[in-house]
Amino acid sequence: MLPNFNYVRPSSLADAVRQLSTPNARVHAGGTDLLGCLRDGVFAADTLVSLSAIEELRGIRPSLDGGLAIGAMTTLSEVAADPRVADRYPVLSRAVAAAASPQLRNQGTIGGNICQRPRCWYYRADFHCARKGGEKCYAAEGENQFHCIFGGEVCFYVHPSDVAPALVALEALVRISGPAGARSVSAETFFVPPSKDYTRETVLGPGEIVTEVVLPAQPRGTRGSYRKVRARGAWDFALAGAAVVATLTDGRVTRARIVLSGVAPIPWRVPAAERVLVGQRLSAKSAARAAATAVEGAQPLAQNAYKVEMLRGAVEEALAALL
């Protein structure tokens, strides 16, 4: 049952930021994650500030440097259907299409997608876990088959987004507005690992809103792909996945980005695996070597050792798709 809350629908960004400074206010974008959290009692909200009336947050437009800027309120379906995204940023277009289900993609926004709260089944239920101010992470010793093998340390959830790894792979920028004005951070630094602060998932401060995601122009010869392994064919989060982007010059890899999904509390970039590729020809062999490197250092929990091999397979297949 949804608890009571006030609902405001400002028509300007400035007004939205103002409204967000009221006590215990939350941003409402598509609502596909927020309403579930409220209903499940994960957190409460006194006021929901809807961004749906702010026109400037919608749509996809060319950016000044030849890339694309995607308004935070653009739905996942709109991103998936955009021919410019499909043509120039296939990794993103595939990642978006792999998210959730058609209904959820029609409702969910790209800004909301990267601000999702953890999908950990302890966090979402009536367990007073560390992330909710409790004493411990229940997943550490509990039912952790869906939890992380990298970067857990104190909280072992996996980042739920398919979109986020693609944005990190594309070296995208996240534009933010807040009480102190606007700022931009790289997608890679937007997400906060539990080791830094296990009570939050992003760098957003009080009253701050994601306004736009900017995709830089990609060098000629850049390819991209996203591979997601899930427990069922739709409406499911990644068990393991990989967003890969590689730039090829004269048949050799000159730049590679490999970012993992479903295995860490943040989109997990594996620079060592990227280095394996650079200078090499893209082949089944080099893909396998990079995949083997990508899983190095994994620290599985009691029930998710399977993720290591699954991830290796996913990375290999993601890279193979670039051939």
Binding site: M1, N4, Y122, Q145, R230, A231, Y306, E317
Partner: protein
């Protein structure tokens, strides 16, 4: 053993009169057997059908139940004073309330209070609130403070009998004695075998999770109580509610004309019915009480998990010599048939002289089980049908051929070894294999790359599916030629209303859109047992036919006078009564003067007995092809074929829908579904449709073929029908597992075959472990 214990038919049922005549089987049919869309399809799809969960009554209150958040606890004290004073709250009841001083029978003489201080599973009812809005009710629940003594728990049935395991009941964690079955001598049987295989299996617990939630609306009118309930059977609910509240049956009316799915979890009344009735009584207002999706994962049933060891022996020529099965299961915290019928296929599917089974049912701190589409059978098929495949490999015989070598003609378990009316198993296996292209598919290369292909098959029978008395049905034919069909049975989404209307149309020539159906109302429709056990069509359709024939006889008597033709020479042709001898002698039914004076003809029909000393069981065989990504453990089901001996196909559309639904559900057991308990707290961690994964359209092949292979079973009953709704899901998971084995050589003995499990097994195999 005369008949197996069917615990879903556990209430006393009244006898019904014998049918007045025994009609000949239908030779040719005009309506029955044709593809007819649902008679209520528009209402269901457009949303105009009023399901119990849609119902809104004037002055209606909304109720919610406070449930124990612990796997095992004792309630020391409940303080509801703050809740009682909250806005909109009209009543709060706890275990101390006089109105709640009622006994709830969990079966096998295990009784608890309505709100029992000893909560043996997470989700047991502790208190309830009725308020003006659902929000106010839930706010009030949060304001109730409960002091629990949290007790040690056991949620793993494999640990329930360990020394030191917390005991749920005074007598310990055994539900009863070990259930043993024996015929012949398995020791000799295994000694006579050329090959013996032995494997251990486990199927995970599944949750029914039907589209419509469990719940009801309760309203009092003086001493009379009406309950609108989402149910598979209004009469069992009436019986239970009247019993608990000590009311006359006649004063409890249960209505359930539309319902949104149950799969066995809605065959019975629930505590929430009593809670709603009590709250409605206390407030003198109608009360609506529907559970949340999360609650339905805890306390309204599940398919019990099964831990099975199976040993099978055969001679080189494929003759089975011995089968032995042991199984440990659990129906949860109360007696609920935790191992019921798990061994039935081992006992009866294949001819085998030496069989030994042992079933151990234990208590755990989990929600009580309920019948779930073919209780026990998919679990048993998972073990038996994989073992038969392994045995076929061991003796170097094709898996279909091995099955064909051992097709029984009698029910070996039942007393006197009675023959089956039909054993369609041979036809299901041979015609199914042919239509599927089994032999070619088996030879199909597995694939050079990391993605491998494989095919698998599995067979089954279903222990019930004959239907039988009692059932009473009334058909009224109005003078304008339209008709009214009155029956107590629920249409649980299978198309019961459509099929029964087709029977009326067949006998009386009435167009389907001129038949008004009243069903599932204890006050106004006739007695019927719950719709479950794949017995609704074979139970109700002969009764409907009997009622229609009773009308027809009266109609012909009237027409005989007017047409000057003996009644025995009359037939119905479209909207006319016609002489069989002279087609020109005819008259419109609506124009029969005598009929117009009478206004209506009423026919009462009943369900006659099943054939004596024979067994009516449906049989099936399923075939599938899968693709396995050996790098990631993902399994894709490419196609399915389901061959059935279920007697007459009343309506190919509803028949095929059952097949598609059953295969879909079986794919859930095979690949995606399992209840997960948190080992630290005993709480269920996957209680929503994301964490508990039922298959989506993307997990089910578009290519599912329904192949009815058998003719009408005219010995079975007067419509030649046998059950279908359960056989369609019994062999599915085993067929998938066999196909996975064919693809990659790994026998996955534990369900589900998730990518998590499969990639782990593939990794082990690669490491040579």
């Amino acid at each position: 053993m005369k008949t197996p214990e069917l615990y879903f038919i556990n209430e006393a049922v009244p006898d019904t009169a014998l049918p007045q005549v025994k009609p000949e089987p239908w030779a040719a049919t005009r309506v029955v057997g044709t593809a007819q869309p649902r008679v209520d399809g528009y209402e269901r799809m457009s949303g105009t059908a009023v399901y119990p969960s849609d119902l809104v009554l004037p002055d209606m209150l909304h109720a919610a139940v406070l449930r124990c958040p612990h796997a095992h606890a004792r309630v020391r004290r409940v303080d509801a004073s703050a809740a009682a004073g909250m806005p909109g709250v009209r009543s709060v009841i706890t275990g101390d309330a006089a109105a709640a001083d009622l006994r709830w029978n969990y079966g096998r003489n295990v009784f608890t209070k309505l709100f029992d201080p000893h909560c043996r599973f997470e989700g047991e009812a502790v208190a309830a609130v009725a308020a003006e809005t659902p929000q106010q009710a839930w706010d009030a629940l949060r304001a109730i403070s409960v002091d629990y003594e949290v007790l040690p728990f056991v949620v793993d049935e494999r640990r329930a009998l360990d020394v030191g395991a917390p005991a749920l009941h005074e007598g310990g964690n055994r539900v009863g004695d070990v259930e043993r079955y024996e015929r012949g001598d398995v020791t000799k049987g295994f000694a006579a075998a050329d090959k013996v295989v032995e494997l251990e299996f486990r199927t995970a617990a599944e949750i029914h999770t039907p589209m419509e939630l469990h719940g009801c609306v309760a309203r009092w009118d003086g001493p009379r109580l009406t309950i609108w309930e989402s149910t598979q059977g209004v009469y069992p609910v009436q019986q239970r509610v009247a019993g608990v509240l000590e009311m006359p049956l006649a004063n409890v009316r249960v209505i359930g004309s539309y319902m949104g799915g149950g799969f066995g979890s809605k065959l019975q009344a629930d505590k929430y019915n009593i809670v709603a009735a009590v709250l409605a009584r206390l407030t003198a207002r109608p009360v609506k009480l529907f559970l949340t999706r999360e609650e339905t994962f805890l306390c309204v049933g599940n398919r019990p998990p099964a831990n099975m060891r199976l040993k099978a022996g055969a001679r080189k020529d494929g003759t089975l010599t011995a089968l032995e099965m042991t199984c440990t299961g659990t129906g949860g915290a109360y007696p609920a048939g935790g191992t019921s019928l798990v061994d039935w296929l081992v006992r009866d599917l294949y001819a085998c002289p030496n069989v030994h089974t042992e079933l151990t049912d234990v208590y755990i701190n989990g929600g009580p089980s309920r019948p779930f589409r073919a209780p026990g059978h998919p679990q048993g098929a998972w073990a038996l049908e994989q073992t038969i495949d392994a045995l076929a490999d061991a003796i170097g015989m094709d898996a279909i051929e091995l099955r064909l070598k051992n097709v029984p003609t009698v029910s070996q378990t039942r007393e006197g070894r009675p023959p089956y009316t039909t054993t369609g198993l041979t036809r299901c296996l041979t015609e199914g294999a042919k239509a599927f292209g089994w032999r070619d598919a088996k030879r199909h290369p597995k694939g050079d790359g990391p993605v491998k292909r494989g095919v698998g098959a599995a067979a089954c029978l279903w222990v019930a599916g004959s239907g039988g008395p009692p059932s009473t049905v009334i058909v009224k034919l109005f003078a304008d030629g339209s008709a009214n069909l009155n029956m107590g049975a629920s249409d649980i989404g299978t198309g019961t209303k459509t099929v029964m209307a087709m029977v009326v149309a067949e006998e009386l020539g009435v167009a389907l859109d001129k038949i008004q159906i009243e069903n599932a109302d204890t006050a106004t429709t006739e007695y019927a047992t719950a719709s479950g056990g794949s017995k609704t069509v074979p139970t109700e359709s002969p009764a409907v036919r009997d009622a229609a024939l009773a009308v027809k006889r009266q109609l012909f008597d009237l027409a005989a006078d007017e047409l000057k033709v003996p009644a025995s020479e009359l037939a119905i042709d479209g909207e006319d009564v016609v002489s069989k001898k002279d087609q020109k002698v005819r008259k419109k039914i609506a124009e029969l003067a005598g009929f117009r004076r009478r206004g209506v003809l009423v026919g009462v029909g009943t369900r006659g007995p099943n054939p004596e000393n024979k067994v009516v069981n449906p049989f099936a065989a399923q075939f599938c092809e899968v693709e396995v990504d050996t790098r990631t453990g993902e399994v894709r089901v490419l196609r399915f074929l389901s061959a059935h001996d279920s007697g007459r196909v009343m309506n190919p559309l509803t028949f095929e829908s059952q097949v598609i639904g059953g295969v879909t559900m079986g794919i859930g057991l095979a690949l995606t579904e399992q209840r997960v308990f948190d080992r630290q707290t005993g709480k269920v961690v996957n209680r929503n449709w994301h964490d508990y994964k039922i298959p989506t359209a993307m997990d089910v092949p578009a290519d599912i073929t329904s192949l009815p292979v058998a003719p009408p079973d005219d010995e079975a009953n007067t419509t030649g029908t046998k059950g279908l709704g359960e056989p369609v899901t019994i062999p599915t998971a085993a067929a998938v597992a066999n196909a996975v084995h064919d693809a990659i050589g790994i026998r996955v003995t534990e369900s589900p075959i998730s990518p998590m499990r499969l990639v782990a097994l593939l990794t082990e195999k690669r490491a040579g472990r």
